[in-house]
Structures are given as structure tokens and as C-alpha cells.
């Protein structure tokens, strides 16, 4: 306990900026460094997995070995030694937890400090939380209430054991194991994450959320999330994440798959606040994430909302495959980079269904010496009769040492499809800043107000409980970017 408090203080003194940079002093159970078939077997054994799951992982691992990392993004990625990483790390605790009372108090304290109380009395009233610490889920709240509604919300490791049919049917159905280098890696070594199933006709009675925390040194986090919304169901899901402040880079390669059936709707929101590294670009998370949802059924809808402020490097393109007739895909994104951060993020909207519609609103903010790239694909397939897309990409530059780039790809194979694209690049105007200053608002607050205004269209898509947090986060992430 003392060690943790001390670390927190040190970190706060050292920076005063990234307030989640502390380390929890907890004993962990780790796989030896390195990646080979034995490690894959080790992870699978740790998770008590059935044979089919191990086979799936091994297949993915063999596939990964034949692949190379993508290099088309506008990112400068230093070489990563995949043998120098621990692929499994779990806090030591009694094997199976019956209730939250059994969770290590140190872990509960960690989440509390992160603003995610797991303790029943303090929980956010209408949000169920799955807390993932390094490679394992340590607690999931409100499970009983959810199960009354027929909703399954549990760690994916548990779903593999308890709902094997669902997992086997859907895992890899949206993002096949060989989809890309990082997805293949994740498929081989994924450790935990959340599983959600909303049965037919059910409107999930509360927000679901997963909170990811990387704690251990030299570990990667490879979480995997699978959300299935059956016919006429609805769910809103939120993902948050933080990591300690460390000098080395850490790898995070997640996979998220969404399946929306007929008339179903999934709203997936992310507030990504992994440690971004320091002003000189030392340390920080490498965030290489594959997220994709398929609107399988007619009139189904998937919305991605992301607020990306963290990570040293972000490579991430949450996408929608709009298969169903009149299905809807949405992507609302704020990507903020400061100091030496690099982000290459955007979306893919693949229109297959007749009358399918998509909206892309991307707000990129670059400050410091950072590089921020929007990369998006809108693809109208021959079957996408009367499909429509509207894209708006706005970039805001703060200072003159950063960069903003917009790389839209448009493929239209159906003449009736309509695609609109608008893009702007601007700077915070001196007029706007002076106007705020003249009202007594300090420079950092003024910038934060103006930037939050710039992001408004995206921020309003976030669930209420998180919008306020996200606004503050934008302010904090911009600290030191002006003056």
C-alpha cells in the first residue's frame, strides 16, 4: 500500500499531467517473456480453455508468423521486439471470485483512484463495469440485474467456458484471424476482454462498460471484445483505458467485434487515455487496434464514438460492414495528439446493403510536435443501391510544429450511391483566443473551451456520464500546448 501511495505522489510531482500514471504494487503471475507455441498453450491453459479455443489460437499464431506488420499508415513506428514482451500477467488472487468482496483491496483502490469505483455502494448508478487488469478481468458489476433481463455481460474468458456455442459462432466472424498482423497476434494471445449478448427484443437496461488497465511492466495487453445484439435489441457500451507512466513503450493490440442483427442497434463509445509518453516522446502505449462491426440484419445500426487522447502511437480504424438493407453505420471521432504523439485513425464504411447509410464525423486536433492523420474508406459495392455516405473531416492545429493529414479513399461501384465529403483545416484563431481572454478566461481554459467546441458534434454522442469526463480529459491533454 505504502509503495503505491509513494509512487502516485512521485508521479504527480514529476508531471502533474497524466494523472493515471501510477503503478499498483501487486504480486502478479506472469508468463515468461517471448512468444512461441508454448506461450500460446500456456495462456490457453491459464484460462482453462477448451481444446477448440487452443486450436484456434494456434492457427492464428501460425498465421501471424507468416505475416508482416502493416506499413502504409503515416506513422513512424520503431521496431518492436515481440520476444521481449510478457504475453500474460495476472494479479495473484484466489482462483474464482464469488463476489466483489473477494477482490483484492489493492485492486479496488486502484480502480477507485481511476474514478471507477467497483464497490457496490459507490458504483455509478446506471453503469455496469467489467474491470480488466493486465490480462484478466478482476470484477464485473451488476451481473445479476443484467441476467434478469437476459443480458450476458461477462469476461470473454468466462464466455468461452460457459457459452461456447455463441463464442464459436461469432468470434472471428467479423474479423477473421488473418485479417491483419495485429488481429492475428491478438487472436493467438488474447487474454481477456468483455463478452456481451443481448437477446432478441431486449433493450439493455443500463450502460455496459469495460475498463482496461495495463499495470505490469513489459507486458502487452491483448484484449478481445465481442458484442452480439440479437434482433430488435439495443445496447450502449463504453470502453475506457489507462496505463502507468513508464519509460518503455508498451504494446496494446485489441480486437473488438460487433454483430448487429435485424433492427438491432449497438452504440460503442471509447474514451482512450492510454499513457501518451512524455514531452520528448519517451514511453507511452502503442495502440494497434482492430475494431469492426457488421450490420447483418436489415435496418440494423452500429455507431462508433471515440475520443482518443492517449497512446504514443494510435493505429485504429473502427469500421462498419453494412450488409443489411437500410442498415446504418456511424463514426464519430475526436483524435487529439500533443507533444510527440502520432495518430493514424479513421474508419471504413463498407456498403453492401441496399439503402445503407453512413455518417463519418472526424475531428482531429494536433498540438505540440504531434502528427495526426485521418484515414477513411467509403466503399459502395455494386449491390449498394441508393446507399449514401456523408463524411466531414475537420482538423484543428495548435502551434506550428504539428501536422494534420486527411487521407480519404472512396470507391463507388454503384452509380446510384451518393457520397459527400467535406474537409477543413484550421487553426485556433487569435480572435477567438483573445475574445475568451478578454472575458477573464485563462489561456489554457480558453483553448480547452474552443477545442471542446470544435469537438461538440462528437462529444454529444457520448453517454452523459462520460461526456463531462471526456471534456476534462481534452483540457488536460492539451496542457502545455499553448503559450
Amino acid at each position: 500500500m505504502a509503495a503505491t501511495t509513494q509512487t502516485i505522489e512521485q508521479v504527480e510531482q514529476a508531471t502533474g499531467k497524466y494523472k493515471y500514471g501510477f503503478v499498483t504494487d501487486i504480486e502478479s503471475d506472469k508468463a515468461p517473456k517471448g512468444l512461441n507455441e508454448d506461450i500460446v498453450r500456456f495462456i490457453s491453459a491459464k484460462k482453462d480453455e477448451p481444446e477448440w479455443m487452443l486450436e484456434w489460437r494456434l492457427k492464428a499464431f501460425r498465421r501471424w508468423q507468416t505475416m508482416t506488420a502493416p506499413d502504409w499508415a503515416k506513422l513512424d513506428i520503431p521496431p518492436i521486439d515481440y520476444q521481449d514482451i510478457h504475453y500474460y500477467s495476472a494479479p495473484k488472487q484466489a482462483q474464482k471470485l464469488k463476489s466483489l468482496d473477494e477482490v483484492d483491496p489493492e485492486l479496488l483502490a486502484t480502480y477507485e483512484k481511476l474514478g471507477i469505483p467497483l464497490n457496490e455502494q459507490k458504483m455509478l448508478a446506471n453503469v455496469a463495469v467489467d474491470a480488466v487488469f493486465d490480462s484478466v478481468s478482476v470484477a464485473t458489476t451488476f451481473r445479476e440485474e443484467l441476467s434478469k433481463a437476459g443480458v450476458i455481460f461477462c469476461p470473454i474468458s468466462e464466455a468461452i467456458r460457459d457459452y461456447p456455442e455463441l463464442v464459436q459462432r461469432y468470434m472471428g466472424s467479423v474479423i477473421p484471424i488473418g485479417d491483419n498482423y495485429f488481429a492475428a497476434l491478438n487472436s493467438a494471445v488474447f487474454t481477456d476482454g468483455s463478452f456481451v449478448y443481448i437477446p432478441k427484443g431486449v433493450r439493455c437496461p443500463m450502460e455496459l462498460s469495460t475498463y482496461f488497465r495495463i499495470n505490469e511492466q513489459n507486458t502487452g495487453q491483448f484484449e478481445r471484445t465481442l458484442i452480439i445484439a440479437d434482433d430488435e435489441s439495443y445496447v450502449s457500451y463504453l470502453e475506457g483505458c489507462t496505463a502507468p507512466q513508464r519509460d518503455e513503450n508498451q504494446l496494446h493490440a485489441a480486437v473488438v467485434e460487433l454483430v448487429a442483427k435485424t433492427d438491432a442497434e449497438i452504440k460503442y463509445s471509447t474514451v482512450q487515455n492510454w499513457y501518451p509518453g512524455d514531452e520528448n516522446g519517451k514511453g507511452g502505449i502503442y495502440n494497434f487496434v482492430t475494431k469492426r462491426g457488421v450490420c447483418r440484419g436489415d435496418r440494423s445500426k452500429i455507431s462508433w464514438t471515440q475520443v482518443e487522447t492517449g497512446s504514443a502511437i494510435t493505429w485504429k480504424y473502427p469500421s462498419c460492414v453494412l450488409r443489411g438493407k437500410d442498415s446504418v453505420g456511424e463514426f464519430y471521432s475526436v483524435a487529439l495528439t500533443n507533444n510527440m504523439q502520432q495518430a493514424d485513425t479513421g474508419t471504413k464504411m463498407i456498403h453492401i446493403g441496399e439503402g445503407s447509410r453512413s455518417t463519418i464525423i472526424s475531428k482531429g486536433i494536433s498540438a505540440g510536435k504531434s502528427q495526426n492523420c485521418y484515414r477513411g474508406l467509403v466503399h459502395m459495392q455494386p449491390t449498394a443501391e441508393n446507399a449514401r455516405n456523408f463524411t466531414q473531416c475537420d482538423s484543428l492545429l495548435i502551434g506550428d510544429k504539428c501536422g494534420a493529414h486527411t487521407v480519404p479513399y472512396i470507391v463507388s461501384r454503384n452509380p446510384s450511391a451518393k457520397i459527400e465529403h467535406e474537409a477543413t483545416t484550421s487553426r485556433i484563431s487569435e480572435d477567438q483566443l483573445f475574445y475568451c481572454l478578454q472575458r477573464g478566461i485563462g489561456e489554457e481554459d480558453a483553448v480547452s473551451l474552443i477545442v471542446n467546441g470544435f469537438c461538440k458534434e462528437v462529444m454529444k454522442e457520448l453517454p452523459m456520464e462520460f461526456a463531462v469526463e471526456a471534456q476534462k480529459l481534452i483540457g488536460i491533454s492539451l496542457e502545455g500546448s499553448v503559450g
Binding site: S429, Y435, L437, Q438, G440, I441, G442, L449, G453, K456
Partner: protein
Amino acid sequence: MTALLEIRDLHASVGDKPILKGIDLTINTGEVHAIMGPNGSGKSTMSYVLAGRDGYEVTGGDILMNGESLLEMEPDERARAGMFLAFQYPVELPGVGGMSFLRAAVNALRIEAGEEEIDQLGFVKIVREKAKLLGISDDMLKRAVNVGFSGGEKKRYEILQMALLEPTMAVLDETDSGLDVDALRIVSEGVNLLRDPGRAMLVITHYQRLLNHIVPDYVHILADGRIRKSGGKELALEVEESGYAGVDDAA
């Protein structure tokens, strides 16, 4: 008694171009001064220099508020010290909700004064009351700052901010420009309500008509970066009749 605002031989340049060429002006608490002058004479420049805008460089002289020089103070510090500028061209802040903006401004003052931040509900009530006097609708309060406001709405919104921030020194830059007769009346009434023994105003205008509504104690004529003539409110009428050219000759 120390003057509220004392401008001493003020010289200022924009870029390399000298605009203010030696201004002397003393304003005491409770007084309303008007500055009149032709377009391009340096009126807005003077307001920006008082507010401390970047790029408006003071090359000589001094500005004292309550006896202390403002020159080393940042614009936000001056604002919190009681300097307010109603802009000739209020700036749009897309996406920035009016209420959060106004609250941020009021809280900045409160924090400076060591007071608690204002609570949201109480604040909304105060804003609504003051807005009503200025004919500002709830709908307008909900919109982003100045975005999609008509010229008249923008000017009224400036006065609303002045009413909320209760400055000791308010500079109003062409608050009458672009207003029709009715709007001019509403805005002037709003300003007159804020006349107070504890506050001074510097009303900048090109036309005399504003001064029929906001009657000044003193009138100064600015031309080519200098105050050419000072007098009582009747000076404004003189200008109205003979134009600025006459004033120039007199100088």
C-alpha cells in the same frame, strides 16, 4: 484621489505602423467618456491596446488602472482586474455553448477573488434575468457563442456579458454600429442600467446618435492617433454639424 484609468502619452504600433501617437486621457470612477473619430483614426486600436491584445505593441507611455500599470499584464489578468471590452465585431465560437462560456468567465472572476465557483442552477437564473432586460431569448442563450447571431444580437450579447462580469472599466467599441433604431434603444437602455458610481465607461462611436441615448460626461475627438479636442456632451453635436474635418482644423 487616484484615477480609475490614466492613459499617459500612449504610443502604440501594429506591426511597424504607428497608430496611436501620444494619447492622454484620465477617467474617474462613475464617469462616462465618449471617444469619437473618423474611420481608421485608431479607436479600435486604442480599445485593443487597453485590453492588451497580442500584436498591438505599446511603444511609449503608460496605462494605469487604479494607479498600477497594465502594460505587463496579460489580457485575461486585465479582464479579471476589471477591464471589459465590448467588441466592435464580437467573435463566433462554434460549438462553445453560451452558458458554459458565460459561466467560465464568471468563475474565472470568482476564483481570482477567492470565492466558490457559481452553481449551475443559480447561474442560469441570473443569466435569464439579465438576458430578459436585453431582449435575449432563451433560445439564443442555448446557442453557441455568437454563432448565427444577427449583428444586433451580437451587440446585446456583449452587453449581457458586461452585466454579468460587472467590470469597473468598460470600453464599448462601436456598440451602435449595425443597429436599427429599436435595437439601439434596447442596447442603450441596457448600458444605462449599468451606469454606476463604481464603474466608468469609455464609449467609442463614429456617430453622434448613440450619445443621445448614452449621454456622456465628456467627449473626446480622436483623429490620426491623437485626441484633437475634448469637451462636454455638446462637442458631439458640434461634430455632427461640422464633421470631423472641422475638428481637425480647430486642433
